[in-house]
Symmetry: C2
Subunit: 358 residues, 2 copies
C-alpha cells in the first residue's frame, strides 16, 4: 500500500499563484514516479483578497485548520497596494513560522549547471552552501513602540530578543548539519563589534556550542564583511548560521551570487515535528512581474523537493533536484527571463515535471 | 599666506598603523602641490596598547583633546586577542561618532580604472554610487541587557532606537546629495516587512522627505533584495541611504562588488561643523595580515581625499583621487595582493604620493 501525504497548499499573492501550480505539478509527477500519493487541500487565506473580504489575513482557527497536515506548501504573500507589507507578513507568514515553532529556516545556495553566476569565473560546484536562519526571534520582534508622536521628540524603539533556548536550538541544528557534511565547516554570522549586547551573546553561545563539535571547524564573520566575502570568496562557505535578520539577508544575497533569487528554495522547519513545517521559495510575491506568466517556478519546485525530503521521500527529493538541473542545463528554450531565456512559468514547470517522469 | 589645517592623526591598531603613514604622506604631497599646510598631531590612544596601559581606550578628556582640530584622520581599531571588539569599538570609534555627533557616514562606492570587479562584465563607470549611513543611533544602541543569566530562561534584549531628529537629518543630507547629482536618484534601504516597528517609521519619514524633493526619484528596497541587487544590477544605484546597521552592510558589500574593501574610504561627518569630522577607511585593523606590510593603503589615502574636500580643498581632493586611479590603472607592479599584485603598502603609497606631486 502506497503512502499518502496530506499537504496544505497556500498560493498567497502575486507570483505565488503562478508558481505554486507548477510546484504542485512537479510534486504530482514525483508521486507518480515514486509510488506514493498526495492529498492536497488548497487554502485561500494569507493573501490580499482574503484580507479585503475579512479584514484579517488568516481565519482565527488557522492553527487547527492547518495543524493536522503533514506539511504546508506555500507560495508568497504581500500586495502592498492593498495591505501594508508588515501587516500582511506579520498577519500570515510570520504567524506560521512562530505559531508552528518553525525555528529553522534552511536555505540551500547552490550554483546549478545551466545557470550563469553574476560572479566572474564561478563554475557549478564553486558555490554550494546552506544558510541556516533562526526563524522565530531575534530582530523580528513585536516588542516596541512610538512616543511623542508627531513632535520633534518622536522616538521609536524596537527590541531584539534572543533567548538561550532559541539561540542554542538553531545553533545545534546547524552544527549537526555541518558535522554530517564532507567539509564539516561552519561559519556563524555576527556583528558583535557594533551590536554590543545581543550579538556578543550570540557569539558566546556559538563558541560554547562549537566546543561540543570538535570535528566541525567553526569560525565567525561579521555580517558586513560576510556579505563582501559571499561575493569575493563564496567557495569558502559550507554551513552559515545566522540570526533571523542576518539569515534573511544572506539567503537573498547568496542566491543572487548563484545566479538568481528565482530558483532559491526554503524550508521553515519544526525539527521536533510537533507542528507542520512550511516550504516556500525565498522570493516574494513580486508585484512588478505578477500576472505576466514569466515568474521562475524553480524556487517553488525546489522547495517542493525539500518538502519531499522532510517527508522521508529522499529518492523523490533527489530526483526533483536532478530534473531541475537537467532542464536548466539542457533546455535553454524553456528558461524564464531571469535566467536569460524567454520562456514562461508554465513551460518551465511542465518541462521539469516531464523530466521527473521521463 | 597659505592656509594651515590642524589635523589629529590616530593610527589605532593593526594595519591602521601601516596605512596611516601612507595617508599622511599623500596628504603632505597634496599640500605641497596645492600650497597649503598641515599641522599634524599624532595620538596613541584608541588602540589595544593604550588599553593595556590605561584600562580604557581613550583618555577621559578626549573631547577636549580632539575637539579643536579641523579634522581627525583615523586608521582602524580592534585587536580582539587583547580587547574584545565591542569593548574597543564602543570605547573609541563609536564614541567619536556619537560624541562628535558625526551623524552622516558617507561611503562612495566606485569601480576604478585598473581594478577588477568580481562581477562579470562590469566596467569602470558601471558602479558609482554613494552609501549614506546613519551613524549615531538605530541598531547600534547601548540600551538592553540580560536576565536569568546562566539558566534555560536566559534572555538578552537590545533596543533599536530611531528618533525623528536622527532619521530626518540623515535623510535630508542624502536627498540633498541626490538632488545635486546628475541622475538624482535615491534608494532607501528598509526592512519594513519584517522589522515591523522601527522600519515602517523609517519608510514613513523617507516618504515624507521625498515629497520635499520633487526632482529626486526616490524608491525603497528591502535590505535582503537590495544586497542581491548590488550584485545583479549595481549600475542602477546612485545615492543609497540606510540605517546604521544596513549602511554598515551595504558599505562593505558595495566595495566588494567594486573589487576590494581595501580601497573604500569613509567620512564620518558632522555637517553642522560643531565638532571635527573623522575620516577613516571602511576596512578594519585586519589582524590576519597586520605586520606584513602588504595592506592596501588606498582606502586610507582616499579617505584623506574626502578630508581635503571637507576642508574646502576641492582641487587637491580631486587630484588625490585622480592620482589613485592613475596608479591603479598604470602601475600594476606596485599593487598590493588584494588587488592581484605583489607590491607593498609603502610602495603603493609612495607611488600615489609621487603621482600627486608629478
Ligand atoms: C568596527 C565596526 C564597529 C564598524 C561599524 O560597524 O560601524 C565598522 O564595521 C565600520 O563600518 O566602520
Ligand atoms: C517577506 C519577509 C517578511 C520575509 C522575511 O524577511 O522573513 C522574506 O524576506 C523571507 O526571507 O522569507
Amino acid at each position: 500500500m502506497s503512502h499518502r501525504y496530506r499537504i496544505a497548499v497556500i498560493p498567497g499573492d502575486g507570483i505565488g499563484r503562478e508558481v505554486v501550480p507548477e510546484g504542485v505539478r512537479c510534486l504530482a509527477a514525483a508521486a507518480q514516479a515514486h509510488g506514493f500519493e498526495f492529498e492536497i487541500a488548497e487554502f485561500d487565506f494569507a493573501c490580499a483578497d482574503y484580507w479585503l473580504r475579512h479584514g484579517e489575513m488568516l481565519p482565527p482557527d488557522w492553527r487547527e485548520v492547518l495543524g493536522g497536515y503533514d506539511a504546508i506548501f506555500f507560495g508568497a504573500v504581500g500586495w502592498p497596494e492593498v495591505v501594508p507589507d508588515h501587516v500582511s507578513l506579520w498577519g500570515s507568514l510570520l504567524q506560521f513560522r512562530r505559531g508552528f515553532d518553525q525555528y529553522v529556516n534552511l536555505r540551500p545556495v547552490r550554483l546549478l549547471r545551466g545557470v550563469r553566476s553574476p560572479l566572474r569565473d564561478r563554475q557549478p560546484g564553486d558555490i554550494d552552501f546552506l544558510v541556516v536562519r533562526e526563524n522565530t526571534e531575534g530582530e523580528y520582534s513585536s516588542i516596541g513602540g512610538r512616543i511623542f508622536e508627531g513632535t520633534d521628540r518622536e522616538t521609536v524603539v524596537q527590541e531584539t530578543v534572543m533567548t538561550r533556548i532559541g539561540v542554542d536550538r538553531v545553533l545545534r541544528y546547524a552544527f549537526d548539519l555541518a558535522a554530517a557534511r564532507p567539509r564539516k565547516h561552519l561559519t556563524w554570522a555576527t556583528k558583535s563589534n557594533g551590536i554590543s549586547i545581543t550579538m556578543p551573546y550570540w557569539d558566546e553561545r556559538a563558541t560554547a556550542m562549537a566546543q561540543r563539535y570538535p570535528d566541525v571547524t567553526a569560525d565567525k564573520d561579521h555580517i558586513d564583511i560576510l556579505t563582501a566575502k559571499f561575493v569575493l570568496r563564496p567557495q569558502q562557505y559550507d554551513v552559515v548560521v545566522a540570526s533571523n535578520l542576518f539569515g534573511d539577508i544572506l539567503s537573498d544575497l547568496g542566491p543572487a551570487c548563484a545566479g538568481t533569487i528565482g530558483i532559491a528554495p526554503s524550508a521553515n522547519i519544526n525539527p521536533d515535528r510537533t507542528w507542520p513545517s512550511l516550504f516556500e521559495p525565498v522570493h516574494g510575491s513580486a508585484p512588478d512581474i505578477a500576472g505576466r506568466g514569466i515568474a521562475n517556478p524553480v524556487g517553488q519546485i525546489w522547495s517542493g523537493a525539500m518538502m519531499l525530503g522532510h517527508l522521508g521521500e529522499l529518492a523523490a527529493a533527489a530526483q526533483v533536484v536532478a530534473a531541475i538541473e537537467t532542464v536548466l542545463d539542457e533546455r535553454p528554450e524553456v528558461l524564464t527571463p531571469d535566467l536569460g531565456g524567454s520562456g514562461t512559468t508554465e513551460g518551465l514547470g511542465a518541462a521539469i515535471a516531464a523530466e521527473i517522469t521521463a
